[in-house]
């Protein structure tokens, strides 16, 4: 069953055609990876999907609903959460409050209830905390719970950002280079977590990744992008042996 579909999406910046008539669909429960050399338009594609950029053409369909014109802050409420290539955490807050911000889209008390911290506000806080603790358990972040994010090692911060997206309780998660900046061990951990979040939480994964070992290990299907255009879509081993893809990567 198709969960997400991009139909002929297109975007130009000035004279640069960053994403050109790209179509693909992601099935429920799939791990779908986008690969491509630097400047291929992968991150632009992500920013189009999460509605940070407006589409130049085409449409986005999530769960049967056209989301092409949904404002960016509404996207997560529909069930699409994302991470960023270079980590965009709230550096001065603790891991716990970062994860709690992840719960923002899941509602909360009214402003006056917060100002007076009524019993309803307290219940809401504790309910959200409960969900966040599930994420902390899943990702083994217990020991960092009260640590300020800015002081944590890069690898941990990467996991915290994954956790923050998961805290939103998404059905589709967009991971922008989950392994960038990680060492081999951390990358391996990341591959387990990516499979865990699909298996245990039933979250569909759409990710951008450079590390071909990781791509091969976790992906069900791979899309190769170059110069904003789709080169090929298929199973990882097919893509990695595709002549066009090899040419794009090695330079032709």
């Amino acid at each position: 069953m198709t969960l997400f579909e991009a139909r002929n999406i297109d975007r130009q910046f000035g004279g640069i055609h960053a994403v050109r008539d790209v179509s693909f669909s992601v099935d429920t429960g799939e791990i779908f990876t986008i690969i491509g050399p630097n400047g291929a338009g992968k991150t632009t594609l992500f920013n189009l999907v999460s509605r940070i950029y407006d589409l130049g053409g085409g449409s986005l369909v999530f769960d049967g609903q056209d989301i092409s014109r949904v404002p960016p802050h509404r996207v997560v409420g529909l069930g699409i959460a994302r991470t960023f290539q270079n980590i965009e955490l709230f550096e001065n807050s603790t891991v716990l409050s970062n994860l709690l911000v992840g719960r923002h889209s899941r509602g909360g008390p009214r402003l006056w209830q917060e100002l007076l911290f009524t019993p309803a506000a307290r219940r809401s806080e504790i309910a959200h905390r409960d969900r966040v603790e599930d994420v902390i358990d899943l990702l083994d972040l217990q020991e960092h719970r009260d640590a300020r994010v800015g002081g944590l090692p890069y690898g941990i911060r990467k996991v915290v950002e994954l956790g923050r997206a998961l805290a939103a309780g998404p059905r589709l998660i967009l991971l922008d280079e989950p392994s960038s900046g990680l060492n081999a061990d951390e990358t391996e951990d990341m591959s387990y977590w990516i499979r865990d979040i699909r298996r245990e939480l039933g979250v569909t994964v759409l990710m951008i990744e450079h590390d071909m070992a990781l791509v091969g290990m976790v992906s069900d299907r791979v899309l190769a992008l170059d110069h904003g255009e789709v080169l090929a879509i298929g199973r990882p081993e097919e893509i990695m042996s595709d002549a066009h893809v090899i040419e794009a990567y090695l330079g032709g």
Partner: protein, 358 residues
């Protein structure tokens, strides 16, 4: 060191986390309650001023310290609060109502400001708020039928029913009581969803947005709250000095509030109170310098502005966490003596910052 055993999620959101904290704040409350007996009229009135500045400071802190929206227009809220209070009181409105309305009018002005500056950030926002403050100042000067123009407006005494605030100590209790209320509301806000959303906007607008935070809406909320609190402070200020003119609410008043939050410590409510104490004591300090160096009062204005500027720069350079940050360091030093290292608080540089969308 305090090591705390937590047994429920409530432990992380309760107001008082350690018994010792309760003791210290209890002593502080007792001291503040006993102040009218212990202090003379002059010092008591200085304390009232601290209360007023701290209320405005909390307003500025929410906006600048927690949400990262630098405002050079806080004087406008102060002025609108003061004038609303003065004008309503002149028309015979009871104080309890006029104070609420002063907050509401200043808060609404904050919403208007947020609508017109929704897409601005950083220095551009600061300039827009500065322009906004000039507009408000100009309107107050020109609208003579309502405000009395540059001739000023007399603001009467406060009375709630039979209770008239005619003595210094009564006004003092009013200021301190309101400050306590304001701090309570601010703490509550900051430990809930909205407070986290504000901090999120400060640290990364892009990911705040991707997590469902409607930036325009929360900017409006924080400007409304900041405006309302500053409006309350303005109303109290009007009563304090009993005679208001537009030239009391110039850019210097905005700068004063900015100095307050920076020197107090950005991103902490303690900082707002510490900053208020500092700002109220500063004129005395400047007076000492003036007398010490034999500078005539002709140069007073230049001296004030110069010292504010110098203080901002010095704090930014040497103690970005302000007086509260310094206080925390001293506390930690004593807590873990003799294990304090110079590097304990050294700021770690973060090289990984998104270049994607700037």
């Amino acid at each position: 060191m305090h090591v705390q055993m937590k047994t429920s999620y409530d432990d992380d959101i309760r107001l008082v986390r350690h018994r010792a904290t309760l003791l210290w704040y209890g002593l502080l409350a007792l001291g503040l309650l006993a102040a009218p007996v212990l202090l003379g009229e002059h010092h008591l009135s200085q304390l009232s001023f601290v209360g007023i500045y701290a209320i405005a400071g909390v307003g500025a802190m929410l906006l600048v310290g927690y949400t990262g929206q630098v405002s050079l227009g806080q004087a406008a809220f102060l002025a609108v609060g003061a004038y609303t209070e003065g004008i309503l009181l002149k028309h015979g409105m009871p104080f309890a109502l006029s104070l609420v309305l002063a907050a509401v009018v200043a808060g609404l002005l904050g919403v208007v400001l947020s609508l017109s500056t929704a897409r601005l950030a950083g220095i551009y926002l600061a300039i827009a708020t500065l322009a906004f403050a000039f507009i408000v100042e100009e309107v107050l000067t020109r609208w003579e039928t309502l405000t009395g123009g540059s001739l000023g407006l007399f603001v009467g005494r406060i009375g709630i029913g039979p209770l008239v605030f005619d003595a210094e100590w009564k006004f003092y209790y009013l200021c301190v009581g309101l400050l306590a209320l304001v701090l309570y509301l601010a703490i509550n806000l900051l430990r809930s969803r909205t407070g986290r959303a504000l901090v999120a906007m400060r640290d990364s607008e892009i990911s705040a947005q991707s997590l469902g935070i409607d930036l325009a809406r929360y900017k409006a909320i924080v400007l409304a709250l900041s405006g309302a609190l500053t409006g309350v402070a303005g109303a109290l200020y009007a009563h304090r000095i009993q005679f208001i003119t537009p030239d009391q609410f110039t850019i210097m008043a905005s700068v004063e509030l900015l100095v307050l939050v920076v020197v107090g410590g950005l991103g902490s409510l303690h900082g707002a109170v510490f900053g208020a104490v500092f700002i109220v004591m500063l004129p005395q300090f400047i007076g000492l310098i003036r007398d010490g160096f034999g500078i005539g009062s002709t140069y007073q204005a230049g001296l004030d502005a110069g010292i504010y500027g110098l203080l901002m720069v010095l704090f930014m350079l040497f103690e970005p966490h302000g007086l509260y940050g310094r206080w925390q360091k001293i506390k930690l030093y004593l807590d873990i003596f003799p294990f304090y290292r110079k590097a304990t608080f050294r700021r770690q540089r973060v090289f990984q910052k998104s270049e994607q969308l700037r």
